[in-house]
Subunit: 404 residues, 2 copies
Amino acid sequence: MTAAAFPQAIRRVRALGHEGLADFLIDDGRIAAVLPAGGAPADLPTLADGEGRLMLQPALVEAHIHFDKTLWGAPWRPNSSGPTRNHRIANEQAVLKDFDMPLAERAAPLIEHCVARGSLYFRSHVDVQPAFGIARIEEMLALRERYAHLVDMQLVAFPQAGLLTAPGTAELMEHALALGLEGGGGIDPAGIDRDPVRHLEAVFELAARFGRGVDIHLHDGGELGRFEVERIADMTEAHGLAGQVVISHAYALGAFAPADLHPLADRLARLGISVMSCAPSHFMAPPLAMLRSRGVNVCSGSDNVRDTWSPHGNGDMLDRARLIAMRFGWSQDEQLADAFDIVSHGGAKALGLGGRYGLQAGCEANLLLLPAQNIAEAVVACPQDRTVIRRGRVVARGGVLVTR
Amino acid sequence: MTAAAFPQAIRRVRALGHEGLADFLIDDGRIAAVLPAGGAPADLPTLADGEGRLMLQPALVEAHIHFDKTLWGAPWRPNSSGPTRNHRIANEQAVLKDFDMPLAERAAPLIEHCVARGSLYFRSHVDVQPAFGIARIEEMLALRERYAHLVDMQLVAFPQAGLLTAPGTAELMEHALALGLEGGGGIDPAGIDRDPVRHLEAVFELAARFGRGVDIHLHDGGELGRFEVERIADMTEAHGLAGQVVISHAYALGAFAPADLHPLADRLARLGISVMSCAPSHFMAPPLAMLRSRGVNVCSGSDNVRDTWSPHGNGDMLDRARLIAMRFGWSQDEQLADAFDIVSHGGAKALGLGGRYGLQAGCEANLLLLPAQNIAEAVVACPQDRTVIRRGRVVARGGVLVTR
């Protein structure tokens, strides 16, 4: 499905920065103009009549998900993982190695569900581990191709079981990037690979060689995790990867008084290193308000969605904004707007979407319409009745995917 | 609306403790029998055809809400409260004193929303403070009367601004219980009233005199809060109120290693003192799993729902079960069932519903039907498509209230 090539109108929506209701002119899948309601010519085809509903920033951004792990499309499977990260890695290998439903059948319904909830831009981590071989990577590439008409998806090569310690992983990572994955991943340089500097050197060297960005899962806590954040900043600088690095989770930053982290936050901001947080309620979470106040870009994601790691997660980034706000006790309208910014513009910046993303003329007409008086209400109420527009076509209505 | 007086059948539902699908015979608003699917006579009127959906414990129990505070039915109002509890109390008085929408218009749509989400039993705290006078109490009694056809609601007289420190409150509390409110409330005996023992003596003396239970808001933290929990146990014993006392919030219990609290938990269990927790993600929360493992009854509630205290809250006790599970990292099916038990049987026990509440013959036919394979999936997925049955009548379908 290519973009609709003829001019159309979205009529009578509330939109940020516009007094009263607005009309949007859409042409060739992009926003052509924004006018006061009634300004769009009456003879233009109507793409959607907002009837006063809220038009949100161009769709939601899912900046951290693991489509390849999900059991979304499978019958309910009780969680069987042990208490530690290493248990969970081994458990996942055992469960998924011979799972009788292929990746595409598990993940495709989740992608469609996410779209119906209003996410159109994704970053999915793809497990790169010898236990799964190249097949996993090829399956995700095929799935991305299958859904190219519906979503923009970046893939990150993710060495879940370790990069140095799981023999054969480094070669697979290289293979994955050669196949076109956009990002080089890493995981707990100390906690899993037991050699923080060699791990980070391997990740950054590989990414720089392929001209790709970096996205590192960092669960290591306390002083250890903070040290690793500092070393990630060093390597970002050394490899000239400013603006292309994301630290995912960064639980460690939740272990300190926020003010103690100001110098580190300022450095992350200078280097354009984004922090991705799901704002977990049962772990420490990085101090997102402080990070943003120092200029650090913050994005978020669903992470595990009903997989062998966790039965939770629902792929709804508006619900994620609500969870973020609740996690930090954000109650003022400005704070609720901050939570929304994290799941929209923050994600767009982390994914490098640049000028494509916005409500101004020239941006992609990837839009979300829902019944709310303003962003604050949208975040706390999470209405399920959502109309999702991608490149000038309605792809979901009433929270349900429009099938062709 | 009285109970439907003629026999009816609910057909083909999944129900706990029953192999395969089951039929329920309903008569005079109660469960008359549970049979294997196909067992209900074909000529009985069909109250609902489950088509394999899950039938949950008799509806959800909202054990802690403040209907009188909500702005649910009003246009969006940005949160304007200051950072402390005393700021919030003063802010609420200022906002609500002359609010141009009466309590009933704000609260009625929230009650209906809660019912459509599957809650049929409620405990609502009613502010008793001279700033609002007797009018607030009378309005809540009138609202309860208006919805008596739809919900069972207990009211607790709640001295929000202090019992000893706000002159005239003690007399209003007495007036409220004389008018028929079921519970005597208290709040932060040290933190607000600055005299923990006199506060608790006043609360317990009043409740005992009227033969009512006690429900105390306890936000006081750390050692202070633990001391107050101990004194509440003392007074429960002294006044013979075992089984009739709830401690709401009890944040203090989250400040200690759970094992250090075993003796105190055992005492709460012996005295039948329930702990109500919303499992807040930005505060300390009592260790619910430990409390339950020691035999303490745990219930939950929505607490503030879009009021001057907080814009959050949605009156959905199944979503609350999900938040509880996420808050404590509960991932196993048994743990997800625990979260559900808290918002159902735990609430029923705290509210003293006794043998009325259950899926066995003789219990009230207050039931919730939704599309889920099992309780674990119901908790993580929180389906919005809910059929709610009260005393043999369908009161909500597809998550929407059935209007007469």
